[in-house]
């Protein structure tokens, strides 16, 4: 039982990171139905910005997280402006063209980081002394508390923002019916940009947290994390914000449980196996709305 509780804690910490990235996927998808494949790379850039701030400016934890979030916000806006917006304007650009453009952006960003930093893995310097607390048989480290705490804070903040601010309402309107929202005076381009900015900021925070937790930062870390977070978003029902959180936590838990069951060689397959099984039973994801297509 204590063993199980322990794995729950570990899974929750990992799942929080997936959930943070998944939120970015799901928000962008909910609004413009685009799979933003450059997301994993934005997360990776977040981790590197945090690392850079800590190494060169001796920034503390909070500064590193905020700095990374600020930088990835700008990066997300730039990617949106350069790679996606022109395609949205173009009359005969289909969804697939946007997807390929996103893939191009993803390749560009990861190669850029290889050029800037080199392909090697770098450890994250210790920011504070890690300590373990024993809670009902399971031990939880300060790092895990930090990850779960910061993720929860950001998620609650996002939820409040989307639910109670004017901008949040405009975003929800846009995701329901873009044309109608535009007719009601919603500045769609601005709202889309804000969505990208928020999602990118969350990915940046997730990058720093993951860098600290795994003590490893490298230019290709975004690919697998991005794919799994995307799987998490779809698992929870893409477009649904609580769905992304549920999906992320589930995938984190499943992976940790798999590792605990001595199946760590198969770890990378768990997320996707669960995803496919869930989709076979419930094609729109756990919390997704099923869309009935009418003629």
């Amino acid at each position: 039982m204590a063993q199980f509780l322990q794995q729950m804690v570990n899974g929750l910490a990992l799942g929080s990171i997936y959930a943070l990235i998944a939120l970015g996927y799901t928000m962008v998808y909910g609004i413009i139905a685009l799979i933003n494949f450059a997301y994993g790379e934005i997360y990776m850039f977040g981790a590197f910005t945090g690392l850079f701030l800590v190494l060169t400016w001796k920034a503390n934890l909070y500064l590193a997280i905020f700095g990374a979030m600020a930088f990835t916000t700008v990066l997300g806006l730039v990617v949106e402006r350069v790679a996606y917006r022109p395609l949205r304007r173009s009359r005969n650009a289909g969804r697939l063209s946007a997807l390929i453009s996103a893939i191009g952006a993803s390749i560009f960003l990861s190669t850029l980081m290889v050029l800037l930093h080199g392909p090697a893995t770098t450890g994250f310097p210790t920011l504070f002394q890690n300590r373990n607390f024993v809670l009902g048989g399971a031990s939880i480290s300060l790092y895990q508390i930090l990850i779960i705490g910061v993720s929860a804070l950001l998620m609650v903040g996002l939820d409040l923002f989307v639910r109670y601010t004017k901008t949040g309402r405009a975003m929800r309107a846009l995701s329901q019916d873009a044309d109608a929202a535009a007719l009601m005076g919603v500045n769609t381009d601005l709202m889309i940009a804000i969505t990208f900015a928020i999602g990118s900021a969350l990915a940046g925070a997730a990058g720093v947290l993951a860098g600290i937790y795994f003590n490893a930062v490298q230019p290709y870390m975004g690919l697998m994390a991005g794919l799994k977070a995307f799987a998490a978003a779809v698992l929870g029902g893409i477009g649904s914000i609580p769905g992304a959180v549920v999906g992320g936590l589930l995938i984190g838990l499943a992976e940790i449980m798999g590792v605990a069951a001595k199946l760590s060689d198969w770890k990378d397959a768990f997320a996707f196996a669960i995803l496919i099984l869930v989709l076979l039973v419930k094609p729109s994801g756990l919390l997704g709305r099923s869309i009935i297509k009418k003629v």
Binding site: L87, G94, I107, L115, P283
Partner: protein, 347 residues
């Protein structure tokens, strides 16, 4: 069914429609003979080319041919039938491993191994095709992606594939004439399939699934058929790849490989055979041509994808009817202006 055929053919360049060929050209023995003559010509040309061309360029041509076979399969699934697949490399992996195991462990003849590799991949195509019964759009895309990741992890952990170390000791059995002839045969087979009743049914699934169902097209059947045939092509291509490189490992067929194949299809022009071939040639050659930039080449590659999508979102040959363009250039017959549509905007 005949009503479906008529309604769909309007959007198909080169299907029934006003153009008239001499009647004798449409007889199948004539076409078969022409095809054989073409194969012989391709064989003669590439055999000669093989003598004069430097080994490095020959290798690039070889990989281009293999990639053409594979991407034609993806074009059938994604371009013609409209089912977005992000896991095509998995079929290639399955074909590559199956063919390699056939020749190395089972000592089967190479040709049989290639065929078996294709068939095993096709079998998995059917297995993966079943989720498409219920999934659509991006849900399908992520399911195919997940499938490919699972195949990669399974290949990394199985004994028979020699795990992460990779499968080695495969004999090099592939040369340029063989690949060229198979690639030409693949193009011919695809052209024939797309202009057949099955091909038109697949196109109708892409254009409007509900209308297709209402017209009596069994959409499930054609989706699975597209997956099976597309996977078969990828499997054969994978077998060729294994017997070219003589060494394969699970990471050869990762997510980035699937993405590369999808970029080839989309860059050339979705649903167009000529476009797929062109996109494959460009994207196979590009990293090699950009090699002088060493570290910057993938940077340029990524940027090129973005720029091309901004300026030609339908792909290089999207919206170009190649037969029409050739005919106009040769001043033969009258020109038609049928746009090859990329999803949705068919009429």
């Amino acid at each position: 069914m005949s009503t479906v055929d008529n309604s769909v053919s309007g959007a198909v360049p080169g299907a029934p429609a006003p153009r008239r060929q001499p009647a004798w050209l449409e007889l199948w023995p004539v076409q078969a003979l022409l095809f054989l003559a073409l194969l012989v010509a391709v064989w003669a040309v590439t055999e000669a080319l093989n003598l004069v061309i430097p080994a490095y360029q020959g290798q690039i041509l070889l990989f281009t041919g293999i990639n053409v076979i594979i991407t034609l399969g993806l074009n059938l699934i994604t371009g013609v039938t409209g089912q977005l697949s992000l896991g095509h490399a998995a079929f290639m992996a399955i074909g590559a491993y199956a063919a390699a195991i056939c020749t190395v462990s089972l000592h089967l003849p190479f040709a049989l191994a290639l065929l078996l590799g294709g068939l095993v991949a096709a079998l998995f195509g059917v297995v993966l095709g079943f989720p498409t019964l219920r999934l659509s759009g991006d849900y399908l895309a992520i399911a195919t992606l997940g499938f490919a990741e699972i195949v990669r992890v399974v290949n990394t952990n199985l004994k028979i594939t020699n795990g992460a170390i990779g499968y080695y000791g495969i004999q090099k059995r592939v040369d340029l004439p063989l690949v060229a002839m198979l690639a030409v045969a693949a193009v011919a087979a695809m052209a024939w399939l797309e202009n057949s009743r099955n091909g038109r049914a697949m196109r109708s699934v892409r254009e409007d699934e509900i209308a297709a169902t209402a017209s009596g097209v069994n959409t499930t059947f054609y989706k699975i058929q597209a997956f099976a045939v597309g996977a078969f092509f990828a499997g054969v291509g994978g077998g060729l790849y294994a017997h070219t490189t003589t060494f394969i490992q699970p990471t050869d067929f990762g997510f980035l490989k699937s993405v590369e194949q999808l970029s080839m299809v989309v860059l050339g022009g979705m649903g167009s055979i000529a476009g797929t071939v062109l996109g494959t040639i460009v994207l196979t050659a590009a990293p090699e041509l950009l090699r002088f930039m060493s570290n910057y080449r993938m940077l340029v590659y990524g940027a090129t994808l973005i720029v091309l999508m901004i300026f030609r979102p339908g792909g290089l040959l999207g919206g170009v009817d190649l037969r029409d363009a050739v005919r106009r250039a040769l001043m033969l017959g009258r020109s038609r202006t049928v746009r090859t549509s990329v999803g949705g905007d068919g009429q």
